[in-house]
């Protein structure tokens, strides 16, 4: 994985010093609340319901064991012994003390981490496919381009005060696991007719209160033009994006109001004037690529087949293997999901001792690297099949082997009313209720791939509008209500979920979810997934049953 050079390290160290000074100035009353707000947000620091919340960047979801141990240390000494993984592959601490945040950032800098631009109206952390570099459907590993974008966007002087936040996702595979169609800019590595690899650029996608699917602005862009094209889009957005209404300030609204054709025209004109001055050289790409070389795989890894015997002897292991691991491009290896969705645990949370244990397991089983996913789980990307059984045993001991990846209890969930000052309704409690109601693993596995996404407010941090089942918390006269949607997807066949009907009271939500799943079981054809059934039969049969008693 990418290792900082002197420039990277100096920049992060100087950023810590700058924020330490800004915090002191704020505490001394030398800068205003409003000014400090803008400055702290650009260092990941929110002020929340109970305490500040610090969001730490995990560039494209990649962590080393050393970094994870530092996260454990911070959770232990500066927070309440846990952290939270977000849908943008980042890490959040819910209980830091404002005056200690500069110290936390200094600790992070010692392991090449930071919280730069994890909030605020600027370019955020670039995300990617959690199976980058190890999946078999990949055109090219997207991570070197993510790192190139990370550097270009970090402390970009022109684009730190945009109309609104700005998110970029990169995918290098045929199957889009990075929700690129729902980002301000989506970047796909593609092959053109002559076999050259370049980028397809999407623009204007987004979730939140106005979910919109991104549109193609450039079907094929040569690699050398990546940064100049991004810069042209950002400049047009910075100059023309709406600043009069924060709910209409994202680039998706600009693209919609301008029209894709005219917007494209503006970007192309800008780009033609700047493209030659900002070329990405092949040498530079290769330098970054050299930091993402494959680990030293065992060429004989496929020879050891004892794990197949273990499957016969241990049904629990076999079930876990089927649900929580996926194929690897190298024979004899699999990628292993660590489920952060155990019953009784808020989705995405991990304790300090679990973090330490995961770091140790990563060292022993997966070349010391860990990935975070946008569904709030972790991955060991490179596990030898001979080690799967012992890894499963060890993960079971630390409660990270719940075999529910991709099932109805692998819920994406925001912190909701329990922690977030924006929320209208709680989400963690509902997630727990759903988990309790679906405690029959056989039933869960029979239902198969169902993505439930739940947000506690319109801001949609848990991407409810692209959940196969979306749950949105709304406030109605001071009470918590929940709006359900069906049929959303953030993958290749991107779709925004359709509203099922009137919002439900808090105590009706779990019953509605089980009813929806029952309708699916009755309606499905052989081997038909939940999403396909919803697409085929529409929402009426679901609506009828859910509102039958109303």
């Amino acid at each position: 994985m990418y290792q900082y050079n002197n420039t990277d390290q100096t920049l992060v160290d100087e950023r810590v010093a700058q924020f330490r000074r800004q915090t002191e100035q704020f505490l001394n009353g030398e800068i205003t609340d409003e000014q400090f707000r803008a400055l702290r947000l650009r260092n990941g620091l929110y002020v929340q319901t109970h305490a500040p919340m610090l969001r730490v960047a995990v560039p494209y979801g990649l962590l080393s064991s050393r970094q994870l141990r530092k996260i454990a240390h911070i959770a232990r000494y500066y927070d309440k012994n846990y952290c939270h993984f977000t849908t943008r592959q980042n890490i959040q601490f819910n209980w830091p003390k404002l005056e200690q945040v500069p110290d936390i950032l200094a600790e992070l800098a010692t392991v090449q981490m930071h919280a730069i631009q994890t909030s605020g109206n600027c370019i955020r952390n670039t995300t990617t496919d959690h199976l980058a570099g190890v999946c078999s459907d990949e055109i090219e590993d997207p991570r070197p381009y993510c790192e190139i974008i990370r550097q270009w966007s970090t402390l970009h002087p022109e684009f730190d005060y945009l109309p609104r936040k700005f998110k970029i996702a990169v995918s290098g595979a045929l199957h889009d696991r990075a929700a690129t169609q729902f980002h301000d800019i989506g970047v796909h590595l593609v092959k053109n007719a002559t076999g050259d690899i370049g980028f397809r650029i999407l623009v204007g996608g987004g979730l939140g209160r106005t979910p919109i699917i991104g549109q193609v602005i450039k079907p094929y862009l040569e690699k050398k033009h990546l940064l100049s094209y991004l810069e042209a889009i950002l400049r047009i957005y910075n100059l023309l994006g709406r600043r009069d209404n924060k709910y209409k300030a994202r680039i998706k609204i600009l693209v919609k109001e301008t029209g894709l054709a005219h917007f494209t025209d503006l970007v192309e004109k800008e780009w033609l004037l700047t493209k030659d001055a900002l070329e990405l050289t092949e040498a530079r790409i290769n330098t970054i690529k050299a930091q993402f070389v494959a680990p030293p795989y065992d060429v004989n890894a496929a020879d050891d087949e004892r794990f197949t015997n273990a499957q016969h002897d241990h049904q629990d292991f076999a079930i876990w293997l089927e649900h929580n691991t996926v194929a690897h491009k190298v024979s004899g290896y699999r990628s292993v999901f660590l489920s952060l969705k155990a019953p009784e645990v808020p989705p995405g949370d991990l304790t300090d001792s679990q973090l330490d244990a995961v770091a140790d397991l990563a060292d022993r089983y997966s070349f010391g690297e860990i990935r975070s996913t946008h569904r709030q789980n972790l991955i060991f990307a490179d596990v030898k099949q001979a080690n799967l059984f012992s890894l499963w045993q060890e993960l079971t001991q630390i409660n990270l082997a719940t075999p529910n990846i991709g099932t109805a209890t692998d819920i994406i969930c925001c912190p909701g009313l329990d922690f977030c000052s924006l929320a209208n309704a709680s989400s963690i409690g509902i997630a727990k209720e759903i988990n309790d109601a679906l405690d029959d693993m056989d039933y869960l596995h029979d239902i198969g791939d169902v993505k439930i996404n739940m947000s506690g407010c319109m801001n949609g941090c848990a991407h409810q509008s692209v959940g196969h089942i979306g749950i949105l918390g709304v406030d109605k006269k001071g009470a918590e209500w929940y709006q359900l949607t069906l049929g959303g997807s953030s993958e290749n066949e991107a779709a925004i979920g359709e509203r099922l009907g009137p919002a439900l009271a808090k105590n009706e939500v779990t019953q509605a979810i089980t009813t929806i799943l029952d309708v699916y079981v009755k309606q499905r054809l052989v081997d038909e997934s939940f999403l396909d059934t919803v697409k085929r039969v529409g929402i009426e049969p679901f609506k009828e049953q859910v509102y039958a008693s109303h």
Binding site: T10, L11, Q35, L155, P157, Y161, P163, R235
Partner: protein, 153 residues
């Protein structure tokens, strides 16, 4: 009154003229609107001439007239309005403006480093007490990932 120019504190040699203000002797700056209205009189002004740019202004409108100005002021109505950062970049890189480019109004002292990177070389804070702080903030970072506009005027 003093300003920062090219990382030095110097006396401010310019007067900002409001849209309803009287044109006085000495170096003066006027808004784009006033320039549009009174260009013919202003070009015969004896001393140097500057123009104030607001975020809403379209630079392309004055691209052919930049040679009249020895000063361009970027007048911040609000520190969060980042359009002036792009205006600065465009003035230096697209329109090859080489005169003084000065931030004024409601920018934040903590923004001077970024402003300097997009080509702003002079700063006139609302509060003169901020001059000393801004001089130090210009050196907040010794490294960067992006090209500087000042190196490519």
């Amino acid at each position: 009154m003093q300003v920062i120019k090219n990382k030095q504190l110097i006396d401010n040699a310019w007067q900002q003229i409001a849209d309803d203000g009287e044109i006085v002797e000495g170096n003066i700056s006027v808004s784009l609107a006033r320039w549009r209205k009174e260009k013919n009189q202003l070009i015969s002004h004896k001393n140097q001439l500057g123009i104030r740019i607001q975020p809403d202004d379209n630079l392309a409108d004055i691209a052919d007239e930049l040679s009249y100005f020895q000063l361009i002021e970027l007048a911040f109505p609000d520190f969060a309005d980042g359009r002036l950062f792009s205006h600065a970049w465009l003035l230096r890189n697209r329109y090859a403006y080489t005169g003084e480019l000065r931030a004024t109004g409601h920018y934040m002292s903590d923004q001077v480093f970024y402003l300097s990177r997009v080509g702003v070389n002079a700063f006139l804070p609302n509060n003169p007490a901020h001059l000393a702080i801004e001089l130090t903030h210009l050196n907040d970072f010794s490294v960067h990932y992006q090209r500087s506009s000042l190196n490519h005027p």
